[in-house]
Symmetry: C2
Subunit: 434 residues, 2 copies
């Protein structure tokens, strides 16, 4: 197709949804994609570029001049435009802004560039419909006609006073059904949920989920209406957050995809592998210190795997439960003491069960003298791992580190090391007569 | 407050959002919550009950008679009503449906009860506004007035033909801006994305995210419009799915929360702990088989932890990357061969790095003769764990099991066992002269 004629291509593309054209772009190399995008209507192209995977987008837009890029940026929602521009070198960013035909868009973008990506201000778009509380429904419809061109999804019209302070909203449904001469002041809903620009993104997502909102207005400290955040951005945010958590739990130290280069993959996998190796070598040092015991009872070595894996598994399970309650909005607020007590009781049951299973095994291999060593060690390991699994995520959360780290290789390695230490200490104490 | 007077309470509750009243309910015991809910307006109460955590809701609704429950169900969106009724014993379900005042609601619920929870039909609500393509805008506004009472968020009006087949939609924005005499046939948008009732929930979520939809219409095989799915349900679905994945990866065998009973927690933690213990005892059997080698070189035992933890970590990292590309909609479609080749190349780099670190350690502890044993074993372990981490999730996905299982204790235990086996086999071969 690619070597073919432009008109046919253009006609074919017109029949497709932008999201489907994105799918096609992923299959093309960057030069072909560049060529195809330039054939398209700028509005459609803008939507496609907004929805591309950021890594693909960065590569693709490298092939665009600022003059080629500007018309697309011109047509984007302001929040998407800022996201795309933030990925560009500073020179390209400034050139593109200078080249924008729509000067309002340029002003929107300059406003939004101030905010951090992970607060409400960085998520919001400037496109919205706001009307003065003094208008009638008829005048309001005229306002919508004027303003609606740039606004993709008009969920509601925001009502402001003369100073631009947010007062409330009128749903489109209400406007459709209202008498044309009714005053906005009489029909608007002042029971409105809003967020301030500085609120963290995660909190915005929580608020929108809690109140089932399609869009939430963003205000500054004086309650002046500055923008709005729509639910589609929150859906993307939640998906990304979940992916990131799983990545952290899996011990990947950065964002990477299966089809990245071999080096890129190795780079995010190695840090935790090396950290895990160092931790395990510390455990090795402990084991080496008990060489004489091992020399006497070689069967002691057989229980090293169960000590390590049980500690790791319990640690991950416990920290995952704590993570879940940390992120739960309907959150119970148990004190640390209560949490630990409950967790300890669960640990005693689990520790006894696993300890008895492994203890039985000592009889099977003809080493009954290890029964108490193995059973007690496992109980101790489960208790310690539960304690670590409870305290570590709470601590990390307190000091502002993503607590999911505590479900990953960190806690596994730590528990491995602690477990081995406890095991040999107990062995040493109980088998002193040897 | 609870022992106090009803009027004050009622007035206080009127000032709160339903979502905030839910927050209060979580703090009360079920009898108090029951009492409070019965004080509230049924519409507000219905919204609160819809949004409660299902486990809390089941306990709470046990205290309600069918007569008390019916007025709330009457006011719910049909999809929420079905969710709540599905949690009730079949007798209560039928009594409540028989008691519903709104017979249309009863019909909606009976329709929806047919569908599985995890397909589009089970997610949809019957509340929507549909109009015939033959109407004018003015007649359409009248239709909206009639139908809108039951519909919470009217994103758009669906356009159908005389047989009820879905033709397209008109956004509310367009209706606000259209001339009153315009015909719907001339202004509606026939470029509409829809899903069939039997489509899996995950696919619906994907479609809505891909096309940035606020609501998607659901049709039967004849393309007759049956209902719609709104974005707030999809947000809940995505959040639940992510929680479930993390749970599976963490080795919890069922849904549980930190504040569940000690027994409930133990019950979801024990299955994988026991499975892990059994796996580790198999590894113990392998180690026991090499007792004579261990007797000669006690330092061999020191490397058991690094073999186990490295295998586990690599397995989790690799399977997590595969999981990610399985769930990625813009998905590359690499063949199994290509995937394995890339993964193997990454594994060689990682295996060499970890192998050399551990190898160096053999010199530090004065056992240089173990250098090749340890380094080669780790390289082999990383290669095997990468292979397992790639193949297992793909296999599980093929046979319809949640592939996240492969990131959990299953793969860790398997890799532990394989790793120990490989390690002692290599040790046996290379140290044959001992």
């Amino acid at each position: 197709i690619e070597a073919g004629d432009d008109t046919t291509l253009r006609v074919e593309m017109e029949d497709l949804y932008p999201a489907d054209i994105s799918g096609i772009l992923y299959e093309l190399d960057t030069d072909q994609a560049h060529y195809l995008l330039n054939l398209l209507d700028h509005t459609v192209g803008a939507e496609i570029i907004s929805n591309l995977d950021p890594t693909v987008r960065v590569d693709l837009l490298k092939t665009f001049t600022s003059e080629e890029l500007a018309p697309f940026i011109n047509q984007m929602d302001s929040d998407d435009a800022v996201d795309v521009l933030n990925e560009q070198p500073i020179q390209v960013r400034e050139e593109v802004i200078a080249l924008l035909e729509d000067r309002e868009q340029a002003r929107f973008i300059l406003d939004l560039l101030h905010y951090d990506e992970d607060v409400a201000g960085g998520l919001m778009q400037k496109e919205l419909i706001k009307i003065s509380v003094n208008l009638t429904v008829n005048a309001c419809i005229e306002e919508i006609r004027d303003q609606a061109e740039n606004v993709e999804n008009v969920y509601a019209v925001y009502v402001v006073d003369d100073l631009g302070k947010l007062l409330g909203l009128v749903s489109l449904k209400k406007i459709v059904l209202a008498r044309k001469t009714a005053r906005i002041a009489d029909i608007y809903d002042d029971d409105i949920v809003y967020v301030e620009t500085y609120r963290p993104a995660a909190e915005v997502a929580e608020v929108m989920q809690k109140y089932d909102l399609d869009a939430v207005p963003v205000v500054n400290v004086q309650k002046r209406l500055l923008g709005r955040i729509t639910i589609d951005d929150i859906v993307d945010l939640i998906t990304e957050q979940a992916e990131e958590d799983i990545q952290v739990i899996s011990g990947l130290s950065g964002e990477v995809e299966e089809d990245d280069t071999i080096w890129a993959r190795s780079k995010v996998q190695l840090p935790w592998l090396v950290a895990g190796a160092v931790g395990s070598l510390l455990a090795a040092t402990v084991i080496n210190g008990f060489q004489s015991e091992l020399g006497k009872i070689a069967a002691l070595a057989a229980f090293i795997p169960i000590i390590g894996s049980t500690g790791g598994n319990v640690g991950i399970q416990t920290s995952s439960l704590i993570l879940q309650s940390l992120s739960d909005t309907s959150g119970l607020n148990a004190t640390l003491g209560q949490r630990l007590l409950r967790t300890l009781l669960v640990a005693i049951i689990n520790g006894l069960v696993v300890g008895l299973i492994a203890g039985t095994y000592t009889f099977l291999i003809g080493e009954p003298r290890l029964f108490f060593v193995v059973a007690m060690s496992l109980l101790a390991v489960v208790l310690l791992a539960s304690f670590m699994g409870t305290v570590t995520p709470l601590l990390l959360n307190r000091i502002g580190i993503n607590p999911a780290v505590a479900s990953g290789p960190f806690i596994t390695t730590a528990n491995d090391l602690i477990g081995i230490g406890v095991y040999f200490l107990i062995a040493d104490a109980l088998l002193a007569e040897l």
